[in-house]
């Protein structure tokens, strides 16, 4: 870079000059490209970076100079604006009209000539910067594929920003193509409406062919683990949903340790993932880890039963537990409040760590904060599920028809179904997956590795007989 001078403002303009000079005075150059580059740099030098008051030219200089900066190169490559540098011809016509229509666009060509430094070493370094396209010349950018989501929608922004705030959108696009997966476990005594709720949440009928066992068949039954998988697509987004069910849980006369099969299943999935992750071919790892467990608490008890406490304590370190108060249409509103209070108290009393909603950032707006607060205070969610559609207040809704009235599943005044669905699907699905990945899986992994190491050490000690010679030798090494 010719501008190795210590002055701070000069480099950006010098760069612009560079390009301008090259464009104007060489056969290969393109005058519009030159102007574009000039405008870009001028804009860049004036833009306001978040958190900083105005760009420092030296930052840009460092940015551009550091050819080892892989990110920049990658960014430049990936950013769709790079397309423009391959078809400069096509863009120019558009560019010209755009430029002309904008009053703020300075005409740098004249300015540049004035700032031309006396010594202008003709280094070939300028070449590499020249090939870096000007991705943000306002006209050169194609119409964004994200429409409304494009953070640079307004034409004002176009001039002032670098443009990497669109990175989340790129990630979004890639993931949408790949599709999402989510594994949800439902646990609780039979007859609490688990299947109905799952059907209501995801608007499917997963349990069509289920055969219910009679009481004497259930006497002989042990806890099983069953999986149902279903692919749901909505507005172009695909979700592979797996529901893990635990029929037989809590049904027998003697329910000692009936959570064991469930805990073992969860551990198995972690182990499988651990193996896959440590393996050689990691391209197609299937993630079967359980992301969330909805635990159904009976509304007929006085709060948590001993079995509920045991189950939750056995599993709160393995999976995100979201407690649910089932069949809430049994309870009147004051009863619901009382039970929720009691259950929350007991959860704290027994030290059960249910899934905690992440605190929202302090810079979120009041509305969002209130919503978040309301969500936290609704645990356990008092839900009602329904497979049938009834006519209520002139509309067809999911609900239950009683002689004394109609219960609407999606009415927030009747139950917390909407809150649960919002939390589970619309706002916290990703967070649930993250916590599973970062906390529960990592705990498992750490434990696993620790126990493996211990085993290895034990083996080694056993093999060498623990003789002093070996130990001291290894120490010296």
């Amino acid at each position: 870079m010719p501008a190795s001078s210590s002055s701070l403002e000069a480099p950006s303009l010098v760069f612009a000059l560079c390009i301008a000079r090259h464009s104007l005075f060489t056969a290969k150059g393109d005058p519009w490209l030159a102007c574009g580059a000039g405008c870009w740099l001028w804009a860049v030098s004036r833009r306001k970076l978040p958190g900083s008051c105005g760009i420092r030219s030296f930052q840009i200089k460092r940015f551009l100079e550091d050819t080892d900066d892989a990110e920049l190169n990658k960014f430049v490559k990936d950013f769709p604006g790079s397309e423009s540098c391959h078809q400069p011809e096509a863009k120019t016509r558009v560019s010209r009209s755009h430029l002309e229509s904008r009053p703020q666009t300075p005409d740098l060509c004249q300015d540049d000539l004035e700032f031309r430094p006396p010594s202008w070493p003709q280094s070939c370094d300028s070449q590499q910067f020249f090939t870096a396209p000007a991705p943000l010349s306002p006209s050169a950018r194609p119409r964004s594929p994200w429409g409304k989501l494009d953070p640079y929608d307004s034409s004002e922004d176009d001039k002032e920003y670098v443009g990497f705030a669109t990175l989340p959108n790129q990630v979004h696009r890639k993931s949408v193509k790949k599709g999402f997966d989510f594994t949800l476990m439902v646990a609780g005594e039979s007859g609490l409406g688990k299947s109905t709720l799952v059907n209501s949440l995801f608007l499917t009928d997963l349990y069509r062919d289920r055969k219910l066992l009679s009481a004497e068949e259930r006497i002989m039954q042990t806890v099983e683990i069953t999986k149902h998988a279903v692919d749901i697509e909505e507005k172009g987004v695909r979700l592979r949903l797996t529901i893990v069910d635990t029929p037989g849980f809590g049904d027998a006369v003697n329910n000692t340790e009936c959570w064991k099969p469930v805990a073992e299943y969860i551990d198995q999935q972690f182990e499988q993932y651990f193996r896959d992750e440590s393996g050689l071919n990691r391209k197609n790892i299937q993630d079967n880890r359980v992301h969330c467990c909805l635990y159904f608490i009976s509304p007929f008890g006085h709060g948590l039963r001993p079995l509920d406490v045991e189950f939750m304590k056995a599993l709160h370190h393995r999976v995100n537990i979201v407690p649910i108060l089932a069949k809430a249409d049994t309870l009147t509103p004051p009863e619901v409040e009382r039970k929720k209070c009691k259950i929350r108290e007991e959860i704290e009393h027994f030290g059960i760590k249910v899934y905690q909603f992440p605190d929202c950032d302090s810079d979120e707006d009041e509305d969002f904060k209130l919503q978040d607060q309301a969500l936290k205070e609704s645990i356990p969610f008092a839900v009602i599920g329904s497979n049938t559609v009834v006519e209520a207040r002139g509309r067809r809704v999911r609900g239950r028809l009683y002689p004394w009235g109609i219960v609407e599943v999606e009415n927030p005044g009747h139950c917390d179904f909407v809150k649960l669905r919002t939390m589970l699907v619309r706002t916290h699905m990703q967070d649930l997956k993250d916590v599973t990945r970062e906390t529960h899986y990592e705990n498992y992994r750490a434990q696993c590795i620790q126990s493996m190491t211990r085993l290895v050490v034990k083996e080694r000690n056993r093999n060498c007989g623990g003789c002093r010679r070996c130990c001291t030798k290894s120490k010296d090494r």
Binding site: A215, R218, V253, Y402
Partner: protein, 358 residues
């Protein structure tokens, strides 16, 4: 005691007492009726009035036991049945009074009066039933309690100088609360009822029936009835004790259509259509306890109190108690530990079991 019996008597008695088939109901033989036309009004029918006056003076007692998992509304239902606070609700327990580790038996007596008739009502509660993780044999304390009451009565009866009116603490009726899952009975329910239907009158009741819509309710009831039949569980009113055709048809109707009763209990009153009714107020409507379209509480109340109260007592006395007594008197010294007819001498038992009607 059995040493005093002649050998032949023992054998005859033993052959009668095989555990499974029950002894023939000990009801008084019906006198042969001769249809005679009356020549005038005698006044025999006034005996009913005399009996009524007598019972009003003496009053009578009734012991009802409620069994079921905690939180199914047992105490509320009993309070609603007898329209008074006869049972203390577990939801008002303080933190220290948590679920007991073993099943406890708590009997609380009240005297309630209506229309000049006094009733000594005893409500026997069984907190801790079915609440633990391991519920094996949790019915045993209950069985033991019931047998203890029979034992007490037997002791009194067998005394030389016995009281005019033996205090009756035997359990006349056991309301068993089924959880309204909507699927079927739970294994625990089956086990309990199998063991206790031979010892006491069990009336199965579906608790908190406002959970279910009408179709779910009728499906669930059908399934429960079928399961009880398949498992050979005889709930009250038992088929084998129907005395005549009239009883049979009436009881058949109840057995096959109404039972188990799906009930809702409440101790709060609300205003509906200008009347004050007992009910539950929800955001989507008021559930009226005594409205037959909403739940079957009224049927249960009429059944237990208004039509079959005396029958419950009679069946308990004539059948369940007699079974127990015959078994006890024929056991060769196999007394329950810690108990015995110490201090009393058993009078020689006559050749044929003589029904004692009280």
């Amino acid at each position: 005691m059995s040493k005093g019996l002649p050998e032949s008597r023992t054998d005859a008695a033993m052959s009668e007492l095989v555990p499974e088939p029950r002894p023939k109901p000990a009801v008084p033989m019906k006198p042969v009726s001769i249809n005679s036309s009356l020549l005038g009004y005698i006044g025999i029918d006034t005996i009913i009035e005399q009996m009524r006056k007598k019972t009003m003076k003496t009053g009578f007692d009734f012991n009802i036991m409620v069994v079921g998992q905690s939180g199914l509304g047992k105490s509320t239902l009993v309070n609603t049945l007898f329209k008074s606070q006869v049972s203390r609700k577990a939801s008002s327990w303080t933190r220290e009074e948590k679920i007991p580790k073993t099943v406890e038996i708590k009997a609380i007596g009240h005297v309630i009066e209506e229309g000049g008739v006094k009733m000594k009502l005893t409500v026997i509660d069984t907190p801790g039933f079915g609440d633990q993780i391991n519920n094996e044999n949790c019915w045993e304390p209950i069985e033991k309690y019931i047998n203890e009451q029979y034992e007490k009565f037997l002791k009194e009866e067998v005394n030389i100088a016995r009281k005019k009116r033996i205090p009756d603490t035997r359990v006349h009726c056991c309301l068993y609360f089924i959880s309204p899952t909507g699927h079927s009975l739970r294994p625990l329910d089956l086990e309990f009822m199998k063991h206790l239907s031979k010892v006491v009158n069990i009336i199965p009741v579906i608790a908190k029936a406002d959970t279910m819509t009408l179709e779910e309710k009728s499906e669930f009831k059908q399934r429960v009835r079928k399961e009880l039949e398949v498992n050979g569980i005889e709930f009250y009113p038992q088929k084998e004790f129907d005395e005549d055709l009239e009883d049979k048809t009436e009881n058949d109707k109840i057995r096959q259509e109404s039972m188990p009763f799906a009930v809702v209990g409440s101790d709060k009153e609300y205003q509906v259509n200008g009347k004050r009714v007992l009910g539950r107020k929800t955001p989507w409507g008021i559930i009226e306890v005594e409205n037959l379209n909403h739940c079957e509480f009224a049927l249960l109340r009429d059944f237990v109190i208004r039509t079959h109260l005396q029958d419950l007592k009679e069946v308990t006395h004539n059948i369940h108690y007699e079974t127990y007594r015959a078994k006890r008197l024929n056991d060769n010294g196999g007394l329950p530990p810690g108990e015995g007819l110490l201090g009393t001498v058993l009078p020689p038992v006559p050749a044929t079991p003589c029904p004692t009607a009280e």
